[in-house]
């Protein structure tokens, strides 16, 4: 049986988050090609509904990459993002779904390894947990 290819969605803030991803690429750091990046103005813009709908529409895991909490471009955006991620984690736990499928990461734009590390952590999670349900296809 072919190994399951992870489907990851990353909501990346267009400040430190996306800069960290671009820097990783420019520095020649490699990360799993299964990640689909969705840029958002700020990680505080990410809502629980975005995370849950991504899972509902076929993603195996979803994560948010925002600025460092003490160095957020919009001051408290990445703190808001983490709160939303934690709320979705609690909803998933209530539903009996592994809460590790949703995660929040903070990255500095000058850190070339932060983004690839976040991706590889999530790939490991999906490899460990497998798809959500049989085949992971949306209903």
């Amino acid at each position: 049986m072919a190994e399951h290819k992870p489907k990851l969605v990353c909501f990346c803030c267009e400040r430190h988050g996306i800069d960290a991803a671009v820097l990783a690429a420019r520095s020649g750091k490699q990360y799993d090609a299964s990640v689909r990046i969705v840029t958002v103005p700020c990680s505080g813009r990410v809502d629980g509904i975005h995370l849950l709908e991504a899972l509902d529409n076929g993603a195996d895991a979803v994560f948010v990459v925002g600025c460092l909490e003490k160095n957020c471009y919009y001051d408290t955006g990445s703190i808001e993002g983490r709160k939303r991620v934690n709320y979705v984690k609690s909803m998933l736990s209530e539903a009996g779904i592994e809460s590790e499928r949703v995660e929040m990461f903070n990255a500095a734009s000058t850190n070339a390894w932060a983004f690839p590390e976040a991706v590889s952590k999530m790939v490991e999670v999906v490899k460990k947990l497998g798809p959500i349900g049989k085949g992971g296809e949306p209903q």
Partner: protein, 234 residues
């Protein structure tokens, strides 16, 4: 406003387990303000239930709608067909909304998605506190505008009791003593004499006793002729 809280996802999933076609109806009034049953919360719950079903290999069909006020029949009729077309309706409104749908379509199953809690006010973002129990006989003009029935753990009319210590309640040290707050308020208002006035036993007949309370205003009621006209329009 009425403050409610979503039931745990697994509890809702268990309620809906025997049904295939489910309509989820939210409400844009109180429960949207307290972030329990508005548009976003309805969508999030439906997504969470779908992900749960995907994990468990179950097939259920969800449709989600949000009405302006679920406790008023006029707004429910907007989604009448969708409600009746499903096996069960999950109401993401307070119990009033769920019961309104239930009363309108008694043959149809309507389940509650929220636990209705309190008459509360938003104290800060994400925090709602109870300030009224709907006793039907308001006395806050004598208590500096603070309701001792809802805010005192013992609902005392002549407080504070002996359990009040350092402005906290003996029932729970996290809770402020309502009568300490009443004292402060009356002091600001220069009406401290009121705290020495003994309030007689409260008339609780206006509260929840003797069955359902119904409030009417005769001048607002429709005559049989007007009712007939309204029904004809609908």
């Amino acid at each position: 406003m009425i403050v409610a809280k979503r039931k745990p996802v697994n509890e809702i999933a268990d309620m809906l387990a025997p049904f295939k076609k489910i309509t989820v109806v939210g409400c844009r009034s109180c429960v949207a303000i307290c972030l329990a049953g508005g548009e976003k919360e309805v969508k999030m719950l439906v997504s969470a239930l779908k992900v749960k079903n995907k994990k468990e290999g179950k097939k259920q069909q969800f449709e989600a709608f949000v009405v302006e006020r679920q406790c008023e029949k006029e707004w429910i009729t907007e989604v009448r067909d969708k409600i009746l077309d499903s096996d069960v309706t999950l109401s993401m409104a307070c119990s009033l909304g769920a019961q309104t749908i239930g009363d309108m379509y008694p043959e149809h199953l309507t389940f509650p998605g929220l636990n209705t809690g309190i008459f509360g006010v938003p104290e800060e973002q994400g925090v709602w506190s109870e300030k009224c129990v709907g006793c039907g006989n308001c006395i806050i003009h004598t208590t500096g505008g603070i309701c001792p029935i809802s805010r005192c753990a013992k609902s005392m009319l002549n407080g504070p009791c002996g359990g009040s210590s350092n402005r906290k309640c003996e029932v729970n040290l996290e809770v402020d003593c309502a009568w300490a707050a009443i004292y402060d308020r009356l002091k600001i208002q220069k009406r401290l004499d009121l705290i020495e006035t003994i309030s007689p036993a409260k008339d609780w007949s206006t509260s929840h006793s003797g069955g359902r309370r119904v409030y009417t205003r005769e001048d607002a009621k429709l005559t049989p002729h007007q009712k007939k006209g309204k029904e004809a329009i609908q």
